[in-house]
C-alpha cells in the first residue's frame, strides 16, 4: 500500500506534515563528501579506553590510522604496514617485515621502531589497554633493519588476526612521546588515507586526503563526517541533500529511499543471538531445544527486517573461517511442542522464564524479541521481556547474572572461531554465560592448537555439539544498509566499518 498523500492530508491538518512526498536528492557532482555517521567519536586513541573496543567507530580510526595488517572488504588479510609476517619453525618467535617509504601525516618517516613501540605499548598493563591479555603473549620487541622480532611468551594462534582487529593500530612513536596523550588527543596523526583537519566533539570531524598515502590518494579530497545519532534525523539528512552517505537506518526507510538515491546492503561480521544461561528452566535440554526449534528465523527476517538478514544456526557466518553449512537447526514448532510435553509443559502449563534485551541499540532488537516471544507463546513458552541498557548487559554478563535468555549482538570482524564461539561459550571467559563442563573440555585444547586445519575442525565439532544441545540460539547475521547520493559509489566493508577512502566518485 503506497502512501496516498491526499488521504493523509484529509485525515488531520496537525499531522499533515507527516505526509511525505520526498525530494529527489541533488544529483550533481560532489566535491566535498558529507557522511552522516550514527555514533559520536569519544576519543582519538584507538588502543586504550572504552572506545578502543567499540566496533561502531573502527571505521573512523581506519580512515586516519593504519593497522599492522590491512583487512580487505571481504575480511581477508593483505599486506599493510607489514609486508610479511609469521612465526619461526618452533613458533617461539614472530618476525614482521615493515613497509618502507611511508610517512606520518606530519611528514616524519614511518619506521620499524614505530611498530615495535606500538606492540610493546599495548602489551604493557599500565597503559590501560583492554586487549593487553593478547598483546601480552609477545615480549622483548626489537628492531633489526626494517624487520621487527618478538619472543612468543605464550602461543596464541590468532595473534596476527588481532593485528587487523580491535586496538591493532600503529601509532607514531616520536610524535606521541613529544606531545603526550593529551596532545595526541587534540591533534592525532597517523599514516592512514585521511588526515584530521578539524574535530568538533559530538558534532563533526573534517578529513583532508593524505596526498602521499602508500595505498594511493583517495578520490574525495575533503570528507566531513557529521555525528547524527538519531536514525530519523540521519534519513532526513540524506533526503534533504545535506549529507551524501549515511548508514544504520530502519530497513523500511532504506527500501523507500534506495530507489530514489542509491543504496547498498551487505552482510557484516555482526550477528544477533540469544545467550542461554544454565540456570532455572534452561538446564532442561528439552526446553532449550524447543525454544530454538520454535523460532521461525526466516519469517522474522523477511517481515521485520524487510528481508535484510542472513539466517544462521551456529555462531559463525559464511565469511568466517570455521563456517560449516551442514549444521542446521530447522523451524519445527510441532517437534518443539512434543519436547515441551516430554518435560511436562503445554499450553495450559507453559514454561516460564525471563528474556532480556536492549531497545534501539541494534535495528529492531526489541521488536525481534517481541516477535520471538509471540512465536514462543504459540508453542507453550511464556517469556517475560525485560529491557535493559547495553551497559547493564555487560555488567550482568561479567557477573554471570544474565536472565535465562538474553538477546545480544556479537561482532567478530576477524572471522576466527576463537573470537566468536570461543569467547562466547568458553566457561571461564567472563563473557560466556554457559558454564557446562563438557564444553570447557572440548574448547580447552583448541586455544593453543598449532595445527591450523586441526584447530578449525575442532571448532566445527564444538559448533555442532552446541547446535545439537541448543546451548545458545544464533538468530541472524546483520546486513548493514548504506544509503548514498547518486554521485558516489560506496564499497561496503564486511566488518561493518564505513570507510570514506573506499568511496569513489560515480
Amino acid at each position: 500500500m503506497n502512501l496516498d498523500r491526499r488521504t493523509l492530508l484529509k485525515l488531520s491538518a496537525a499531522t499533515a506534515t507527516l505526509g511525505m512526498a520526498g525530494l529527489p536528492a541533488r544529483a550533481q557532482a560532489i566535491d566535498e563528501l558529507v557522511i552522516a555517521y550514527n555514533v559520536t567519536l569519544p576519543s582519538w586513541d584507538p588502543t586504550v579506553g572504552p572506545s578502543a573496543v567499540n566496533p561502531t567507530i573502527q571505521g573512523l580510526y581506519q580512515s586516519v590510522f593504519d593497522q599492522f595488517i590491512l583487512q580487505q572488504p571481504d575480511l581477508s588479510p593483505a599486506p599493510g604496514l607489514l609486508t610479511e609476517w609469521g612465526w619461526n619453525e618452533d613458533k617461539t618467535q614472530v618476525r614482521m617485515t615493515v613497509r618502507e617509504g611511508v610517512t606520518w601525516h606530519d611528514g616524519s618517516p614511518f619506521t620499524a621502531e614505530d611498530v615495535a613501540w606500538s606492540l610493546a605499548r599495548v602489551a604493557n598493563p599500565e597503559t590501560g589497554s583492554p586487549i593487553q591479555f593478547v598483546w601480552g603473549t609477545l615480549a622483548n620487541h626489537r628492531v633489526e633493519g626494517n624487520t621487527v622480532i618478538a619472543d612468543v611468551v605464550q602461543f596464541d594462534p590468532t595473534i596476527f588476526k588481532w593485528m587487523y582487529f580491535l586496538t591493532g593500530y600503529v601509532l607514531p612513536k616520536a610524535y606521541y612521546e613529544r606531545v603526550g596523550a593529551e596532545g595526541f588527543e587534540a591533534a592525532p596523526i597517523g599514516t592512514g588515507p585521511y588526515m584530521v583537519d578539524k574535530f568538533e566533539r559530538n558534532a563533526f570531524v573534517r578529513l583532508k586526503a593524505n596526498p602521499n598515502y602508500w595505498g594511493g590518494k583517495p578520490d574525495f579530497d575533503t570528507v566531513t563526517i557529521k555525528f547524527v545519532t538519531d536514525a530519523a534525523a540521519r534519513v532526513a539528512e540524506v533526503e534533504s541533500g545535506n549529507s551524501h552517505v549515511t548508514l544504520e537506518m530502519p530497513y523500511e526507510e532504506f527500501d523507500r529511499l534506495k530507489a530514489k538515491m542509491g543504496g547498498v546492503a551487505a552482510p557484516i561480521s555482526d550477528i544477533g543471538m540469544i545467550f542461554l544461561n544454565d540456570i532455572e528452566v534452561m538446564t532442561d535440554p528439552n526446553v532449550r531445544m524447543a525454544a530454538a526449534l520454535s523460532i521461525d528465523k526466516q519469517t522474522i527476517i523477511d517481515r521485520l527486517l524487510s528481508g535484510y538478514g542472513v539466517k544462521i544456526d551456529t555462531l559463525q557466518t559464511p565469511e568466517y573461517d570455521a563456517y560449516d553449512p551442514s549444521i542446521t537447526v530447522p523451524y519445527d514448532p510441532d517437534r518443539a511442542v512434543e519436547l515441551l510435553k516430554a518435560s511436562g509443559y503445554g499450553p495450559d502449563n507453559p514454561v516460564k522464564f525471563k528474556i532480556q534485551t536492549t531497545r534501539g541499540f541494534k535495528p529492531k532488537d526489541y521488536e525481534m524479541v517481541q516477535a520471538i516471544v509471540g512465536l514462543w507463546r504459540k508453542v507453550g513458552i511464556e517469556a517475560e521481556i525485560e529491557v535493559y541498557e547495553i551497559a547493564k548487559h555487560y555488567e550482568l554478563r561479567a557477573a554471570d547474572q544474565l536472565a535465562p535468555a538474553a538477546f545480544y549482538n556479537w561482532g567478530n570482524s576477524v572471522g576466527d572461531p576463537t573470537t566468536s564461539t570461543g569467547f562466547a561459550m568458553f566457561g571461564p571467559s567472563p563473557h560466556s554465560v554457559w558454564d557446562g563442563e563438557d564444553l570447557i573440555n572440548m574448547i580447552g585444547p583448541l586455544w593453543g592448537e598449532k595445527d591450523e586445519a586441526k584447530r578449525i575442525e575442532g571448532w566445527k565439532a564444538v559448533d555442532r555439539y552446541i547446535a545439537e544441545n541448543a546451548l545458545v540460539i544464533p538468530l541472524l547475521q546483520y546486513v548493514q544498509p548504506i544509503l548514498h547520493a547518486p554521485g558516489v559509489v560506496v564499497t561496503p566493508h564486511a566488518s561493518g566499518a564505513l570507510l570514506p577512502h573506499l568511496m569513489k566518485r560515480a
Partner: protein, 335 residues
C-alpha cells in the same frame, strides 16, 4: 542589601553541595559499572580489577567523594572515562552551545508569547482570544520532542528551509576564539556565518520555545487583562490615547513584572529540555553529551554536567531576581 546578597550566596552554595552529593551517590548506585563496558571478549578477572583500580572505582563511596571534592577545589573535575580528557574542558567547551540555544529559544518564546498575549488582550472576549487559548493549550499538550520531530519533517525535509542537524555547516572555517559562535559571529560582523548558524539553531530553538511561548502567552495575557481594569489605564484612555497605545505604554510594563519570575522558573525547565532536543537535532550541546555520558556510564562526566546544570539554574534564578528588582521602581527607589 549586602546581607541579602550574602544570604543568597550561602543558600546557593548549599544547593550546589546538595546537588553534588545526590548525583554522586545516585550515579554510583546505577547498575552497569563503566568498567564492564570496557571489557572486550576474552578479558579476565584481573583485567576487571586492574581497570577498576585505574579509574579509582574500587575505593569506598565517601573516599571517592573526598577525592572528587579535593579535585574540584583545585578546579579538577576528574577525567572523562570515554573521552579521556578533563571533564572541565569538555563541559565548558559544550556549555556555550547550550546557552546560546536556550537564549535563542527564550527570545523566540518571548516574541511568540508576547504577540499571543497582546493580540489576545487586544481582541479579548472574542473568537480570536478563544483561538489563542486553544492554540496555547495545544502547544502545551505536545511534548517538545514531538514538536522537534514535526519541525524536522516539515521544514527539514518537506520544505527544506532550515538545516536539521549540527550547529554549523562543517565546511565553513570558523575564525572564532570562543565557543559562542552565535554571539561572536555578530561581534565580528560575519553575517554570513551568523545566518548559517541561525539556520542550524532555529528549528531546535523553536521546538524548545513552543511550550514556553504558550506559558508566557497565557501568563502575560492573564496579567495584562487584570492590568487593563486598573484606573490609570482608564485615565490614559480619557487623555485621548488609542487602545494599542494604552496596552503597550500603560498596561504592558506593569503586566510584565509578575510574569517575569514565573518565566524565570520555566526557563530552567527549558534548559533541562535541551537534553532531548539536542539529541534529536544532533546539536552538540551539554544535553547531547549528557545522554552519551549516561549510556556509557561515564561517571565523572555525568557528575560534571549535572553540577554545571545546577550552576546555570542558580545563576538564572539570581538574574531573574535582580532584573525583577531593577525593573520594579518600588524596589529600585526604596520608600
Amino acid at each position: 542589601m549586602l546581607r541579602a546578597v550574602v544570604l543568597r550566596l550561602v543558600t546557593t552554595a548549599i544547593t550546589l553541595i546538595g546537588v553534588a552529593v545526590i548525583v554522586f551517590v545516585v550515579i554510583r548506585v546505577v547498575p552497569g559499572n563503566p568498567i564492564a563496558l570496557m571489557l572486550p571478549p576474552g578479558a579476565t578477572e584481573e583485567d576487571v580489577a586492574r581497570l577498576t583500580a585505574l579509574y579509582g572505582l574500587d575505593k569506598s563511596l565517601p573516599a571517592q567523594f573526598l577525592i572528587w571534592v579535593q579535585g574540584v577545589v583545585q578546579g579538577d573535575f576528574g577525567t572523562s572515562i570515554t573521552a579521556r580528557q578533563p571533564v572541565l574542558d569538555l563541559v565548558l567547551g559544550r556549555l556555550p552551545a547550550t546557552l546560546e540555544l536556550s537564549v535563542m529559544a527564550l527570545v523566540i518564546a518571548c516574541l511568540l508569547g508576547g504577540v499571543a498575549a497582546l493580540t489576545g488582550t487586544r481582541r479579548r472576549d472574542t473568537k480570536v482570544e478563544g483561538a489563542i487559548d486553544v492554540a496555547n493549550g495545544m502547544a502545551l499538550s505536545v511534548p517538545d520532542f514531538l514538536w522537534g520531530l514535526i519541525l524536522i519533517l516539515a521544514f527539514g525535509v518537506l520544505i527544506p528551509v532550515f538545516h536539521i542537524s549540527g550547529r554549523v555547516t562543517p565546511s565553513l572555517d570558523l575564525p572564532f576564539a570562543t565557543n559562542f559562535y552565535l554571539f561572536e559571529s555578530l561581534l565580528r560582523l560575519r553575517f554570513d556565518l551568523w545566518a548559517d548558524i541561525v539556520s542550524h539553531m532555529f528549528l531546535p530553538a523553536l521546538a524548545l520555545a513552543i511550550p514556553l511561548a504558550a506559558i508566557i502567552g497565557q501568563l502575560l495575557k492573564q496579567s495584562l487583562k487584570e492590568t487593563m481594569h486598573l484606573d490609570y489605564v482608564t485615565l490614559s484612555r480619557t487623555k485621548g490615547y488609542g487602545e494599542n497605545h494604552v496596552i503597550l505604554r500603560e498596561a504592558l510594563p506593569n503586566a510584565v513584572l509578575p510574569t517575569l519570575t514565573l518565566v524565570g522558573v520555566q526557563f530552567t525547565f527549558l534548559i533541562g529540555g535541551t537534553v532531548i532536543i539536542e539529541r534529536l537535532f544532533s546539536y552538540e550541546g551539554l544535553g547531547n553529551m549528557a545522554i552519551d555520558a549516561v549510556i556509557n556510564r561515564d561517571l565523572p562526566l555525568i557528575q560534571g554536567i549535572v553540577i554545571l546544570f545546577a550552576v546555570i539554574f542558580t545563576a538564572v534564578n539570581l538574574i531573574v531576581d535582580l532584573t525583577y528588582a531593577a525593573l520594579n521602581p518600588r524596589l529600585r527607589h526604596g520608600g
